[in-house]
């Protein structure tokens, strides 16, 4: 948020604004193609890119101090660890109703 009032910065912000809108349009278009699993692998990275650009420019992560970067890195590592913690439980859980009877 450390924005200067100069025109070039405003132009850059507008460019980012329209860029994110274009990416939103792109993921909506991809979802209409009904690509199932491939769609997930396309939509999720684009959404992450949108969020990343927003954080990088609008929240000024690019100029933030090391403290913020470390804080966010620690949060991300904790989140990803917790997210995949129960992964094996899901991997070995029954996939169809009939599999319940095998135990």
């Amino acid at each position: 948020m450390e924005h200067n009032s100069n025109t070039s910065e405003f132009k850059r912000d507008l460019l980012i604004y329209f860029g994110i809108i274009a990416l939103t349009g792109m993921i909506v278009g991809i979802s209409h193609l009904k690509l199932k699993t491939l769609g997930i692998f396309l939509i999720v990275p684009i959404a992450c890119a949108e969020a990343g650009v927003l954080a990088y420019y609008f929240m000024h992560l690019m100029t933030k101090k090391r403290t913020v970067h470390l804080l966010l890195l620690l949060t991300l590592i904790t989140f990803i660890t917790l997210l995949f913690w129960p992964a094996w439980d899901v991997a070995y859980s029954p996939r169809t109703p009939s599999e319940f009877t095998t135990f």
Partner: protein, 201 residues
């Protein structure tokens, strides 16, 4: 106990050790906790979806055009906030207020569109109890809407009655608005993930 150890001082200049002023460090710590809050819900969504036998085609249930419009609405409010902050730093209070009102107006527009979506779901007999997906949808978007309402309250205060704080200390007020802006951008960022996860996948 000395004064210094009793209070966290409201400093304006960045500290040497963190490189940030205390309010900014505080909001980033808060946003980190928010990442964990929404992250836990996204984790629940992923695990429930991967572990379920059937899952609805979300784009068939959801009103994707309204969701996309809401993305544009929130993103527009984010850019208006940046303009408001720039105007505030330039001492242009009229412009600052104008842009802050636009931020608040667009936030209300977001809530109206979300309310319309909820109404559509309810009129089709789709409630949180109907399915796991709808339970997650209402929980996650409802929590996000609460964050929007919180943002509206804070932004309205800084655009209206809170402006007297500027007379007391200009730099403190600028910092407060900056911190509110970081929160507002974060709310926008969360919506990007909510829209792609709950509407498109």
């Amino acid at each position: 106990m000395s004064q210094e150890t009793e209070f966290i001082p409201y400093i304006v200049e960045p500290r040497e050790d963190t490189g940030l002023y205390n309010a900014k460090l505080g909001i980033w710590l808060f946003l980190a906790s928010e990442i964990m809050l929404f992250g836990s819900l996204f984790s629940a969504y992923i695990l429930l979806r991967v572990g379920s036998f059937t899952w609805p085609v979300q784009s068939d249930i959801q009103n994707v055009p309204i969701g996309a419009i809401n993305s544009v609405v929130l993103l527009s409010s984010s850019i208006f906030f940046i303009r408001a902050y720039v105007a505030l730093k330039a001492d242009d209070i009229v412009k600052y207020k104008k842009f802050m009102y636009l931020v608040i107006g667009f936030a209300f527009l977001f809530l109206i569109l979300k309310g319309f979506e909820y109404y559509q779901h309810f009129s089709h007999g789709e409630f949180p109890k109907t399915s796991v997906f709808l339970a997650l949808y209402f929980l996650m978007t409802g929590l996000h809407a609460l964050h929007i309402i919180g943002g509206i309250l804070v932004n309205s205060y800084y655009a209206g009655p809170g402006l007297y704080l500027r007379e007391k200390n200009k730099q403190w007020f600028i910092n407060r608005v900056e911190v509110a802006g970081l929160y507002w951008h974060f709310v926008d960022l969360v919506w990007i993930f909510l829209f792609s996860t709950l509407y498109l996948l």
